[in-house]
Symmetry: C2
Subunit: 240 residues, 2 copies
């Protein structure tokens, strides 16, 4: 029921949170202090909505911990998962796109902690802090590149290849090494995966079962470990 947990600047946030992250890489400690002092931090439960598509964009965000699922809904009620956000990344950066509403919904894929700032300070940030603008536009460029890749996959590849590509993307961007392979770091259902690949949970289930039998991966409820990434790469069609 608890939709989101919002916080304030309770204790002073630690500067080390931002040091080294791309958008703030070139900044002095004092500048980071300034930035932090304007931020509010916020925790969100798994499944909680941080902001919704079409909402007036009054804040932009930096994910400190956890994972964010970026979701878009069709007029027909279906939904697709456009991407995932990993810790250290900005999200909800509508102002960078000249928008005043969020283009998609952000949902916590796992429990998250994020910082946020009012959009009003965006122009300060871009003008005052060296490298901030450059780095954020680079982020925009990268996301556009990912959209392009996904578009090409959907347009040209069969379900099996798209699924392999989606698993690899998650494993690369947000996987952690475990004993027997790479584990996707947040809970993910068959339904979720089908929303990423434009297919059905049934087809996803069948393919994952088959791959598990072949020793390519292991999966339990909402939980996937890729044990043989190389075979997945071959299946994704990128190989050869």
């Amino acid at each position: 029921m608890l939709q989101q947990t919002s916080g304030r600047v309770l204790n002073k946030l630690d500067e080390s949170l931002l040091v080294g992250l791309p958008p703030f890489r070139r900044l002095e400690r004092t500048q980071i202090r300034e930035i932090l002092d304007q931020a509010i931090s916020r925790r969100a439960e798994e499944g909680a909505t941080v902001f919704s598509e079409g909402m007036h964009a009054d804040q932009f965000y930096l994910l400190l911990d956890g994972y964010i699922r970026v979701v878009k809904s069709t007029p027909g009620g279906e939904q697709i998962i456009a991407m995932h956000i990993a810790p250290g990344q900005l999200f909800g950066i509508a102002p960078a796109l000249g928008r005043d509403t969020y283009p998609a919904t952000a949902i916590a894929a796992a429990e998250t902690v994020s910082l946020s700032w009012p959009v009003r300070v965006w122009s300060d940030f871009t003008s005052k802090y060296d490298g901030f603008a450059t780095e954020t536009y680079k982020v925009v460029g990268e996301r556009m590149g990912e959209l392009h890749s996904q578009l090409m996959e959907l347009a040209t590849q069969a379900v099996e290849q798209r699924l392999a590509a989606a698993l690899l993307r998650m494993a690369n961007q947000s996987g952690r090494k475990v004993e027997n392979g790479i584990e996707i770091a947040f809970p993910v259902t068959r339904q979720n995966i089908s929303d990423m690949t434009g297919t059905t949970l049934h087809t996803v289930s069948r393919l994952l079962s088959a791959w598990q039998k072949q020793g390519i991966l292991e999966s339990t409820r909402r939980h996937i470990v890729v044990t043989d990434p190389h075979r997945l790469v071959l299946l994704s069609g990128a190989g050869s």
Copy 2:
């Protein structure tokens, strides 16, 4: 054989070319003069490649006349058409995305005239000319929105609906009113359309034939007139 026709600042370019275009909307005539004096203009034949995916991005462009097809190729040799550029729009704006290579190939869909500037002046433009940065990032935001729409279509809709949507998009963005409907303003083949919608030219041909029989559109070789846009909207699934 003639791949592209390149020009110079032969005669002084006329200021009216830029007046009123979004990126330059808020500028004085003298500023527009400055900008034009740094531009080179260039004509490209139908089918000519203006720049290629992966090429070092040394120029950014403004389309004055004609239409540009933005194409991406898969490792497997297939290609998709990501979008079309209409007159008055910027393209090849890699610097706005923090990139130094072009993310896609630009091909003249019809004979085109464009202006271009070396990327080195990009940062001047954004800092010196009021509104230029804002407007271009708005363009980036819009294109990202279009990518999202297409992604959702590909992921959730059947071929018939995607095709209807693609035709409507072309008719809206680059259609001209003619006697019996809206004509798509540049030559387009069945193959081209299938590259936009992730299907085959055969399926496109079948559907267009059927729609022609139903009086929704008329088409001759490389040429389409939508006579009943409303029916197309219904077919695209956006209706209801």
